[in-house]
């Protein structure tokens, strides 16, 4: 398949509401390969562009369990298997004393998996991305909202998509080169 010379077409909006409405309309129009960009999190926007990903909480749960079991086993193995010390006949597996470190390790591994999982699923760090080629895009981290329909979308057609985006009360539509 030949690579499209364009990355996509990007429409600029002034408010989150306008972007939200545009995202819904684009989806109803049949576009699937698109992304919305905003300077602040907008509730429901991810769903509007068809984003459904529930993996992150699962990753954090697994991380927490690994930390919990690993933390406890570390202490159990050191104290009861590797170097057992019999002091006054006290139990080697003295679990109440092992709880604080087990808890700390649970939190540590869960937090690490939350952060690294979020970055990995988002594909960050990403040194280059075509959307930054749009000269207006610097405003996406200030006060403007953008909707980008990507060229790899099967319904993408440079002229028709441009007309469609322009009809969404966009402030302007720009081409995003690769």
């Amino acid at each position: 398949m030949k690579r499209h010379p364009l990355y996509g077409l990007m429409a600029e909006f002034e408010t989150a509401e306008a972007l939200m409405a545009a995202a819904h309309q684009a989806r109803e129009e049949g576009y699937r390969r698109m992304d919305a960009y905003s300077p602040l999190p907008v509730e429901g926007l991810a769903e509007a562009i068809g984003f459904h990903d529930r993996r992150l909480p699962v990753i954090v749960l697994i991380g927490g369990m690994v930390g919990c079991l690993g933390g406890y086993y570390l202490q159990y193995w050191c104290s009861a298997i590797s170097y057992p010390l019999n002091i006054g006949g006290r139990p080697l597996n003295s679990w109440p004393s092992f709880i604080p470190i087990t808890f700390e390790m649970t939190v540590l591994v869960a937090a690490l998996s939350a952060v690294l999982g979020m970055l990995a699923l988002n594909g960050l760090p990403m040194p280059y991305h075509p959307v930054f080629n749009s000269p207006r895009f610097v405003l996406a981290t200030r006060d403007r909202f953008f909707l980008c329909i990507e060229a790899r979308d099967p319904k993408f057609d440079k002229e028709r998509t441009r007309t469609f985006l322009a009809g969404l009360h966009a402030r302007g539509v720009t081409e995003v080169t690769r």
Binding site: E17, P41, A46, E47, V107, A110, V115, N122
Partner: protein, 469 residues
């Protein structure tokens, strides 16, 4: 935009969290211009110079410590824990407010946290750095600090996992790591803002690398918010656990004045108390110098003062309970410990701490005092002093009056103790000044969410039926 009434017209309606007339753009420009300006304020240069000098004092004191050992400090058996441990507990306590503000208040939907959470988190991070330093310096052979961790070694021994001291290693290092991640994750969207607003190549490069290519994609925001909430949920029990574990260092020991079940909650309340005092101590001059009164409003100061009052009351309850239990337990050693604290060689520390921590915050009942910025600042500093004295009394006064009169000792810190402590404040302030200059001190993207939009607070999500095909 319709002008909103600025004044607190009635008590029923809370004052706004953000000054009137701000939009996404002006909020962004105001905060980012502090970072991107070419003109460093004079006050910053002066403050940084003082902080850097104190940091050099720390370097000198620590250098001397490495040369001669802990003998240069005033510690002597039975008082093996002196200023170093007092400072450790003090700094860890200060660190707690940052996580409390960023995590617990986030989960409780306290929107006012937004303007103060960033630098409270930074404060947490820097305070933990100062705190973590002290037990290591206290080791005697600090270069062997890695012996604290369980690693496979030729001696084939492991740390004693039943000791609170090793719990402390895990608690504080976990806390430092989680605080760093929480802070950095919160910074990423703002670093992207700074990257995009920077006019200079160096700034674009450095902030660009730090922002990791953040572009504000809707899918990214979604995962970002999930991760941030989960981190807040994880940090909430963590913050309670850390100072509880610190209190176990004392409570598990059988020294009179330490061996008490009230210690964990009492330490956690004290930590929040001192932490909020430190947030006030820092935020009051910062909002003045950088003219951030529109973002850190009087309502923020008022709320923090109320938390200060509430936690101060809990701490005061702890002092009263300690005294009552010494009497009620009928234990002669506990009874003697309290009398020794109140009338012994450390009595001036004790009564000064009662004054600073129990009497002074009572002024905060008055709304006039809470609205008086200078008064609030003075109170916050007195609370910080009081909390340091509290730890001094707990650590030193208890050890110096042990079970046997033959074991009694009159401890006082040396000039090197003072130099290390003052130096640690220098380290804290140096990091803080660098942060204020080079990173956005208020969370810009969260502040944008507080800007009132024309159609209401947040952008509403309209329900939609997915059309497939």
């Amino acid at each position: 935009m319709a002008p909103e009434p600025l004044q607190k017209s009635s008590n029923l309606e809370p004052a706004p969290l953000i000054g009137p007339g701000y939009s996404y753009a002006t909020v962004t420009d105001k905060i980012s211009s502090i970072v991107l300006t070419q003109k460093t304020p004079r006050s910053w240069i002066f403050g940084f110079a003082v902080a850097f000098f104190l940091l050099m004092v720390l370097m000198f004191a620590v250098g001397r410590l490495f040369l001669y050992g802990v003998g240069i400090w005033g510690i002597e058996i039975p008082v093996g824990w002196g200023w170093a441990i007092v400072n450790f507990v003090w700094w860890v306590g200060i660190a707690h407010a940052g996580t409390l503000i960023s995590a617990i208040l986030l989960l409780m939907h306290q929107e006012w946290r937004t303007s103060i959470n960033r630098f409270a988190e930074a404060m947490t991070l820097f305070a933990v750095s100062c705190a973590g330093m002290f037990p290591l310096l206290h080791l005697g052979r600090p270069w062997m600090f890695y012996w604290l961790f369980p690693y496979p070694n030729t001696m084939k021994v492991w740390p004693q996992f039943r000791s609170p001291l090793i719990w402390d290693v895990f608690a504080v290092s976990t806390y430092a790591t989680v605080s760093l991640m929480f802070w950095y994750i919160g910074l990423i969207p703002d670093l992207a803002t700074i990257r995009d607003r920077s006019k200079r190549r160096v700034g674009q490069k450095i902030y660009g690398i730090l922002a990791m290519g953040w572009r504000g994609s809707a899918a990214h925001w979604k995962r970002y918010e999930t991760a941030y909430l989960l981190l807040a949920g994880l940090a909430t029990p963590l913050v309670v656990s850390v100072h509880s574990v610190v209190s176990f260092d004392f409570a598990v020991g059988i020294v009179p004045g330490w061996h008490s079940t009230i210690f964990p909650p009492y330490f956690v309340a004290g930590a929040i108390y001192s932490g909020f005092a430190m947030v006030l101590t820092i935020s009051i001059p910062v909002r003045k110098i950088y003219r951030l009164e529109d973002f850190i409003t009087e309502r923020h100061l008022d709320n923090m003062a109320k938390i200060l009052l509430a936690t101060g009351m809990i701490v005061g309850y702890g002092y009263i309970m300690e005294t009552f239990m010494a009497y009620y337990s009928g234990n002669q050693y506990d009874k003697f410990m309290i009398i020794a604290r109140m009338t012994g060689p450390y009595m001036k520390y004790y009564w000064l701490l009662i004054f600073c921590n129990m009497v002074v915050p009572q002024f905060l009942w008055s709304s006039r005092v809470r609205a008086n910025v200078i008064g609030l600042w003075v109170i916050s500093i007195l609370v910080n002093i009081g909390m340091w004295l509290e730890r001094y009394v707990i650590v030193v006064a208890s050890l110096a009056r042990d079970y046997m009169p033959t074991m009694w000792y009159r401890y006082s810190g040396t000039a090197w103790d003072v130099a290390t402590y003052v130096g640690s404040i220098g380290l804290f302030l140096t990091l803080l000044f660098l942060f204020l200059r080079y990173l956005p001190m208020i969370s810009i993207f969260e502040l944008r969410q507080l800007v009132p939009t024309e159609s209401g607070k947040a952008a509403p999500g309209t329900p939609h039926a997915p059309v497939e095909g």
